[in-house]
């Protein structure tokens, strides 16, 4: 479990033994994490926590951008009538490597 870090939302910030700590909500499970490595972290932000230490604040803007790219392709495809059910572009003649299934 050590490396399977998922993002969690900071719900409270507390101090313990001189360290900045936070209560972090992982889709309903709350656990304490050390926030010393993300000193600017605030309540409401999402952080990546590894073995009890937050190591990064999730950048919302970047997250949106990386998803938008694919939604845009989806939009474009829809306009051309290629992909109205969100299915792969399998019929567009670009598919290979799949013939022998």
């Amino acid at each position: 479990m050590m490396c399977l870090a998922v993002p969690g939302r900071i719900v409270e910030i507390v101090e313990r033994s001189g360290l900045k700590m936070g209560k972090v909500d992982y889709s309903g499970t709350i656990a304490t994490a050390c926030l010393e490595y993300v000193p600017e972290a605030d309540v409401g932000q999402y952080v990546i926590v590894h073995a009890g230490f937050a190591i990064s604040i999730v950048d919302e803007e970047e997250a949106r951008k990386s998803l938008e790219l694919w939604s845009e392709i989806e939009e474009a495809n829809k306009k051309e009538g290629l992909d109205k059910f969100g299915m792969p572009l399998e019929n567009s003649g670009v598919d290979k490597g799949d013939q022998t299934q």
């Binding site: 490396c3 998922v6 590894h50 230490f53 190591i55 990064s56 939604s71």
Partner: protein, 365 residues
């Protein structure tokens, strides 16, 4: 946004898969370094959805798996002493040493406690001033900052009964070692997103330049991994070798500076043995001179132990991407997560355990 469901969206996944299929015309071998990614790939069946030209091989990025047997035996030695409380992450308790594991030591009366963070181990030391508390810490650049912080705090507060039995290893030297091996099959890497979160991603530039392999930093959700594979295949098909960051929502160019600073203060780089792989130059961290008093090996003079791996286990080859777990004779029969013969069957990040847990037993046998 919760940064989870969005990156598991099947519609987007299908789109990326279609794109990968569309651009793939040659066979490629791609290694994901991180055991967390291996776990996600097998759980989501990503390897089976890819065009058959693309083979994913699983890398050495499972901390439990690469911790040398000697060190497990040292932990067992310490945990057997009545004056010591040994603390560690849960996974480490099940890793077979040469004779037994830490759970066994506990059932024999050893004081072995599971912690979820190094700071909890430090708290155990504060709460038990008349006993010695050893934290058995393993891991990559992702967990090293936590270990560093505990030791740093212990020194600051003058907690004298706390010490560390640690084997922290570094990923880039291992990536180089694999590429340098004559048996190497790896043509591109998916770099471990959370290692880069701590260390930044510039440290891979020399590897890309020297070995001419594409390296793409990526995350752990299906969309992250598929995007990483797409970026890698694009480069491979175009004959390029570049470094790309596809996990920008988490990984900053420079990494986590504060974590790097504390690690630099607490650790120095040393040659280190990786279980199943062998010694890799400058691939480990050990406590710096100023912190020797917190080094359990030094404090308790644990003797150097020479041990042999069980012969049957091919975990070392699995960790180097040379064999699949299902090619092991013992896989799923004599070796299961309940009765592991090798470390790659213990941790959920180990390739053998991932294959076992997600029913890959019948696939190739």
């Amino acid at each position: 946004m919760r940064y989870l469901d969005e990156f598991r969206d099947p519609a987007i996944a299908r789109k990326i898969l279609a794109e990968i299929k569309a651009i793939t015309s040659n066979p490629w071998v791609i290694m994901e370094i991180c055991g967390g990614q291996t776990h996600s790939i097998i759980r989501n069946g990503i390897d089976q959805l890819l065009p058959k030209e693309i083979q994913l091989v699983h890398g050495p990025g499972c901390p439990v798996c690469v911790t040398p047997l000697e060190l497990i035996d040292k932990a067992i030695q310490l945990a057997s002493r009545r004056d010591i409380i040994l603390t560690s992450f849960g996974d480490m308790l099940r890793v077979p040493g040469s004779e037994k594991d830490l759970f066994r030591v506990r059932s024999e009366g050893g004081d072995v406690r599971i912690v979820y963070s190094t700071l909890e181990a430090l708290q155990v030391a504060r709460d038990n001033p008349d006993r010695e508390v050893v934290f058995f810490g393993v891991g990559f650049e992702t967990t090293a900052p936590g270990t560093a912080m505990a030791v740093y705090q212990a020194r600051r507060e003058g907690v004298k009964n706390f010490s560390l039995l640690a084997s922290h290893v570094l990923v880039p030297p291992a990536m180089k070692a694999l590429l340098s091996s004559p048996a190497n099959r790896v043509q591109a890497y998916l770099a471990a997103g959370h290692v880069c979160t701590v260390m930044g991603w510039k440290q891979y530039v020399p590897i890309v330049e020297e070995y001419k392999v594409p390296i793409v930093v990526t995350g752990f959700e299906p969309i992250d991994i598929l995007e990483g594979i797409l970026a890698v295949v694009r480069q491979l098909e175009a004959g390029e070798a570049k470094l790309e960051n596809r996990y920008t929502r988490v990984v900053r160019d420079e990494g986590n500076i504060k974590a790097q600073e504390i690690m630099q203060a607490v650790f120095t780089t040393v040659d280190r043995k990786w279980r199943g792989i062998g010694c890799i130059d400058q691939s480990g961290l050990r406590l710096a001179k100023e912190y020797t008093q917190f080094d359990a090996e030094y404090k308790f003079a644990v003797s150097d132990i020479e041990v042999d791996e069980p012969e049957e286990c091919i975990g070392g080859l699995v960790l180097q991407g040379l064999r699949k777990p299902t090619e092991c004779e013992a896989f799923g029969t004599r070796c299961t997560p309940q009765t592991p013969l090798g470390a790659t069957m213990v941790s959920s990040e180990g390739a053998c355990a991932a294959y076992y847990n997600y029913q890959r037993i019948k696939v190739t046998r």
